[in-house]
């Protein structure tokens, strides 16, 4: 890791001109990307970007503050339904509805944070898990949320522009994600972020040096829930249709897996993990059409397994990734990155 010599070096956005160069290149690449590829890949990018938002938010809670949450699909659902309902029932414009839904999710995050103050380990995981399941059940029963039939999203207008294709929506998503990721990164560098890290490393020691545990733990839950809520609101418009079954426990687990696979306690890691797992998610949905591997798997399924259950290979691969990452590289993709960087910098020693 690079040594930081003073505070300003730690908080600055770009550590050198090289980083500025790559960042600008990345931005240009992201801006030009939809012009050259098929619509499906734009859809895939939208899906990835939403997972990035949620993973960055969840990482603030799990990676930086050290609180486990198995209920983030609940916040995601609040964001998704909140945005749609604020738009269709209260006739808010899109961005206002999105922020209102994010704040609603943050409110629930704050409320969940209050019992979480005294809980840890298995107790916290079952409490958050129960929260997520309860939210899905309540939403599935309420008439204003469309019940089991789900909801279609209204047409999307931002000011005078009508966003009706994946490409239009992609640009909106990129801007929102950039803002949120930078906000997350900056938050980690401030007093608040340092308080989070102190709580993760030793909460009693943090309390004795004056970190207000009540305040910062609930804040971590609220911020993390806000990110998940915003992600959920945007997700509704990527799919254009939402129903309660989508926001199950499996979704929370996959969010958690993104953070862990990417690397706990690093913004870059959350982004990498979200990209990897959402790419795998979309690719593995039609696993039999992957060249070579697909045919081999088909033959294998026919002779030893069943062909109807072949889509479940997705879960096996997810599980393997999670187990192997935790066994061999607990810092995830970020850990790999750091190790390769150090290896090449000090090569041949």
């Amino acid at each position: 890791m690079d040594m930081k010599r003073d505070y300003y070096e730690d908080v600055q956005l770009f550590s050198s001109g090289v980083v500025v160069f790559w960042f600008v290149l990345l931005m240009i690449g992201l801006a030009l990307f939809p012009l050259f590829v098929k619509n499906y890949y734009v859809y895939m990018a939208n899906y990835m970007v939403i997972n990035i938002i949620v993973a960055v938010g969840l990482n603030l809670l799990v990676g930086y503050t050290g609180q486990i949450s198995l209920g983030h699909s609940g916040f995601f659902a609040i964001g998704a339904y909140g945005t749609v309902v604020f738009m269709s029932e209260a006739h808010f414009p899109f961005l206002l509805a999105l922020i209102a839904a994010g704040l609603a999710a943050a409110l629930f995050g704050f409320l969940l944070g209050i019992p979480a103050l005294r809980l840890e380990g298995p107790y916290l995981s079952i409490a958050t898990l129960g929260f997520g399941l309860t939210i899905t059940q309540v939403i599935g029963r309420a008439n204003i949320f469309g019940g089991r039939q789900g909801l279609h999203t209204p047409e999307l207008y931002i000011g005078p522009w009508h966003l009706n294709s994946d490409v239009d929506f992609y640009y909106l998503l990129i801007v929102i994600t950039l803002i949120l990721v930078l906000a997350g990164r900056n938050m980690v560098k401030t007093k608040v972020g340092r308080a989070f890290i102190a709580i993760r490393d030793a909460d009693i020691a943090a309390e004795t040096i004056g970190v207000n545990l009540t305040c910062y733990k609930t804040l971590a839950f609220a911020v993390s829930a806000f990110y998940a809520g915003i992600g959920g609101g945007l997700y509704a418009f990527v799919l254009r249709f939402i129903e309660p079954e989508m926001f199950g426990l499996m979704m929370s687990i996959i969010f958690l897996a993104m953070v862990v696979v990417g690397g706990l306690g690093s913004i870059f890691g959350a982004i990498a993990g979200a990209c990897l797992l959402s790419w795998l998610d979309l690719e593995l949905r039609n696993i039999l059409s992957i060249p070579y591997v697909g045919q081999w798997l088909e033959a294998l399924s026919k002779s030893y397994f069943s062909i109807t259950g072949v889509s479940n290979i997705q879960f096996i691969i997810y599980g393997l990734i999670m187990v192997l990452i935790m066994l061999f590289e607990p810092l995830g993709i970020y850990g790999f990155w750091i190790r390769t960087k150090i290896y090449w910098r000090t090569w041949p020693f």
Binding site: I68, P122, G130, L249, I253, A257, T308, Y318
Partner: protein, 291 residues
Amino acid sequence: MLEFIQTLVSGIAVGSSYALMGLAMVLIYKTSEVVNFAQGEMALLTSFLTYMVLEYHGFPFYAAFPLALVFAAFLGFFLEFAVLRRAKEPNILGMIIITIGLEMILMGLVSWKFGADPKTMPFPLSPYDSVQLGSVFVSALEVLNFGVALAVMLILFVFLRYSKLGVAMKATQQNNMAARLMGIRTNRILMITWGISSVVGCLAGLLLSPMTMQPYMMWDPMLKGFAGAVMGGMTSLPGSVFGAYLIGIIENLFGLYVSIEFKSVVAFAVIVLVLCIRPSGLFARHYVKKV
């Protein structure tokens, strides 16, 4: 009144399978501080393999069920030895991730092999046989379930109190380092604990399978069992059994008197409330961290 008693009895019946799952999770949590989310899927794998040998290979019941228990024990040994022991920097979150990963692998394997369509487990007792107790009807399977749960609890109690292995397990739970200094091979004890817990969970799976048999069948009992165990304090075996029965009963009474729709989530709401008041469950002493 009759309706009330009938609901209470079916609450106790459903609580028995929660209690078995809860016991299995508490056994592992006590020895190694691992929350085993794969518990349900370990039982699922065993149940489906039992189904396979019964249905496809024509094994008789008296051979298949003992074999299933032996397989479950070895599955537990294997997972602890091959996966959990290899973790580099074990912490609570990492262990939860590993067991969730195992859960997904096992569930993926089972649903890949058997597909998602429901099966019917051949079983000596039909789920439609019923027994009359006084004026209440109970299905024979529920009685068996309750009996097995009771027997498992008694055996575990005697085992942990009077056998050498059981005492060694308790010693490992209380102080790993001291136990090792006294000449207990704590790694082996952990492995055996996983085996025992897998057998206990597998019993719950086998007893549930005549009623429903599909790849998602163990999720709900496992989560409810976990919730019950947390309610009882996660470190106390009698507490976990009590919590599991309480959840079974609350769930059924809520379904009868308040709303059938929210029946399956009321357990979690109760858990959150209980944890607000007693953060370490009902029966455990509040965990005080030493600095």
